[in-house]
């Protein structure tokens, strides 16, 4: 008796009790579907978080100037400029863990082209900013340190601004536009960057040299940076060290007593991403535990039904033995039945899990990442459950005495 015949005999036996077979596999189906769906969603969420943090910049730290206090009301971080260009240079030049540092001055302003106008965020910065943010140009060029030193009136546009001012698929390089009545030459368009984790559109920005920003947009304040400093650590695992070094450096430069509150704060995005991933991992562990319990219960369900089936079909077993079935044939028949149940449950579970993940992903607007390894592991694990829990009933069936079995009512 070959494996195909054994499988056909098993499948036929299971089809005689369709409802019962289906209900028996339900435990496995739910367990596997839960694993597949949750892994797909979890991976999707993780990828989305990673993508979001990645799009903010490589190994990014953000130094935000300190608070003001007027009349007892705390102004919050960034309400008063405390960071100076000397601070920026010190961070850039003195710290081993820092790769690059750039100022980011920020103002909302109306930008006017020859035909359209658009209110957007104007950023004043240096060429290093684009390296910190890992943000290449799509065409044209970014401004150079010469532009920054000379305070030239050049602007680099985000994709959204290009669309609003010139329409899609128009190359605006060489065009002129006005920001606060100052004409600027468009020298470059940046790659599309997408959304920040909070939904803010990174591409709805224009960039001008920091010196030009100070003279034309903001005015005054030659010593202080009217915005934040973005810092790129030399590597992901150096971000915490960079954070500590910058903190020590700035406290020293600002003459802050050891027990006093600092007049700046540093945000470590790698750490934030890490914390979110840890949360994901805890969730994954929990789901794995639920899946394991579900599969265990499913396995016990299979064993239970197989034991019932062996008792019900005692006479059939007797007949099969009388016409020449060996104990090993009977063992295989029942084992394959259990295996068929569990593998069918696994496969249905995978299908159900993928459909569920797909639906949820569409609803949540997440990417769904299918993990083929998890799919294979799920089906294999289902099969293992089938063998483990099918073995005892099958063994019991194979040990029946044919005479007793034939006499069984």
């Amino acid at each position: 008796m070959n494996p195909i015949q054994t499988t056909r005999v098993a499948a036929r036996a299971l089809m005689r009790n369709k409802m019962r077979s289906f209900l028996t596999t339900l435990g496995i189906i739910i367990g596997v579907a839960a694993v597949i769906a949750m892994v797909a969603i979890g991976e999707g969420a993780k990828a989305r978080v990673e993508q979001a943090f990645q799009s903010m910049g490589a190994n990014l730290l953000i130094v935000v100037p300190g608070t003001t206090t007027s009349g007892g009301a705390h102004g919050g971080f960034g309400s008063m400029p405390t960071l100076t260009y000397d601070d920026l240079r010190a961070i850039q030049n003195e710290l081993t863990s820092v790769r690059l540092a750039a100022p980011a001055l920020r103002s909302i302003a109306q930008v006017i082209s020859e035909e359209q106008n658009w209110t957007t965020t104007v950023m004043g910065t240096t060429p290093d900013y684009f390296a910190v943010r890992s943000w290449p140009v799509a065409h044209g060029r970014i401004f150079s340190s010469v532009d920054v030193e000379g305070g030239t009136k050049v602007v680099v546009l985000g994709q959204t601004v290009v669309e609003k001012l010139y329409g899609a698929n128009v190359d605006p390089i060489g065009q002129s536009l006005r920001i606060k009545n100052t004409p600027f030459a468009v020298i470059g368009v940046l790659d599309r960057k997408g959304q920040a984790p909070n939904g803010q559109d990174y591409d709805d920005n224009v960039f001008i040299p920091s010196s030009t920003f100070q003279s034309k947009i903001q005015g005054g304040l030659q010593k202080f940076i009217g915005g934040i400093i973005v810092v790129s650590a030399v590597s992901a695992d150096q971000t915490s060290r960079a954070q500590a070094q910058i903190t020590a450096l700035l406290r020293d430069r600002h003459h802050i007593q050891p027990d006093a509150e600092a007049d700046f704060s540093i945000r470590n995005l790698v750490e934030m991403a890490g914390a979110r991933q840890e949360g994901m991992q805890t969730l994954s562990m929990l789901l794995a535990a639920i899946a394991a319990v579900s599969l265990l219960v499913g396995g016990i369900g299979i064993m239970n039904i197989m034991l019932v089936s062996v008792t019900e079909r005692t006479r059939e077993i007797g007949v099969r033995m009388a016409v020449g079935a060996k104990p090993s044939h009977i063992l295989m028949q029942f084992l394959v039945e259990a295996l068929t149940l569990s593998i069918a449950g696994g496969v249905i579970g995978v299908a159900l899990g993928l459909v569920t993940a797909e639906r949820l992903a569409v609803a949540l607007q997440w990417p769904v990442l299918y993990r083929p390894d998890i799919i294979i592991i799920s089906v294999v694990f289902s099969a293992v459950v089938g063998v483990v829990f099918g073995l005892y009933p099958a063994y019991k069936a194979s040990r029946l005495d044919p005479i007793e079995a034939l006499r069984y009512e």
């Binding site: 008796m1 015949q5 009388a322 016409v323 020449g324 079935a325 060996k326 044939h329 044919p402 005479i403």
Partner: protein, 247 residues
């Protein structure tokens, strides 16, 4: 097998079943039940024997032993020259598959399974290919006159038809011996005669048949009568069988 085979038909009847001082002891709680007490019996190829006896006489144990479903406690059993007394359950299954066919009182067909598939069953375990199985099963069904019922399930067949399917199943592996345990026990007298006529036809075609019954008029269709009592053979006589004629 050597002796019986080389002597050939010329030197007289060849024994197919030889049991020698076979005993079977069951233990039921503290009590030992001696179902067979040193039974010796030789059945030749082409014989048609009927085993009779009261309940508890040991006739069922004798049949189970002859059918290789049960192993004797002591004694020897040679089936077609092969010593089968000491074989394992797996080896006994193979002997049953190769040499024996069973017919039961309650037919013992698999329910919700077509007549054809029921007849194919022994061939599955004998490792016959599916096309050959189908061909032989149809042939066997035709032999018992049920070629047109191949697709019917047991529940769609009368008792007599079900027993014919069971006989077709016993025949399909081309056994040397057919063992029938009360084959007419669940049938009316007219159908019983039909079944006995079928068994006589198989017997005339050369198959050895051993039948267990408690009805004397059924036993008369066999050519040799063995009466069991208290685990021993009480009577063993040959006679001219009555020819079963379907009324």
């Amino acid at each position: 097998m050597a002796d019986a085979a080389t002597n050939g038909a010329a030197s007289g009847p060849r024994p197919i079943i030889e049991i020698d001082r076979v005993s079977k002891v069951y233990r039921m709680g503290d009590v030992e039940v001696h179902a067979l007490c040193g039974v010796s019996l030789t059945i030749n190829e082409g014989e048609f024997i009927a085993v009779m006896g009261t309940s508890g006489s040991g006739k069922s144990t004798l049949m189970n032993t002859l059918g290789c479903l049960d192993r004797p406690t002591s004694g020897t059993y040679r089936l077609g020259g092969e010593d089968v007394a000491l074989l394992t359950p797996g080896e006994l299954a193979e002997i049953r598959s190769r040499k024996l066919g069973f017919v039961f009182q309650s037919f013992n067909l698999l329910s919700r399974t077509s007549a054809l598939e029921n007849v194919e069953l022994p061939l599955i375990y004998a490792g016959v290919s599916s096309r050959e199985r189908r061909r032989r099963a149809l042939e066997s069904l035709a032999h018992v006159g049920l070629a047109d019922r191949a697709g019917h399930h047991p529940s769609q067949l009368s008792g007599g038809q079900q027993q014919r399917v069971a006989i077709a199943r016993a025949l399909v592996s081309r056994p040397k011996v057919i063992l029938a345990d009360e084959p007419t026990g669940n049938l009316d007298s007219r159908t019983s005669v039909e079944i006995m006529a079928l068994l006589q036809e198989l017997w005339r075609s050369g198959i050895t048949i051993a039948l267990v019954t408690h009805e004397p008029d059924i036993a008369q269709y066999a050519a040799r009568l063995i009466v069991m009592k208290d685990g021993v053979v009480q009577r063993d006589e040959r006679h001219e069988p009555i020819v079963a004629v379907v009324p």
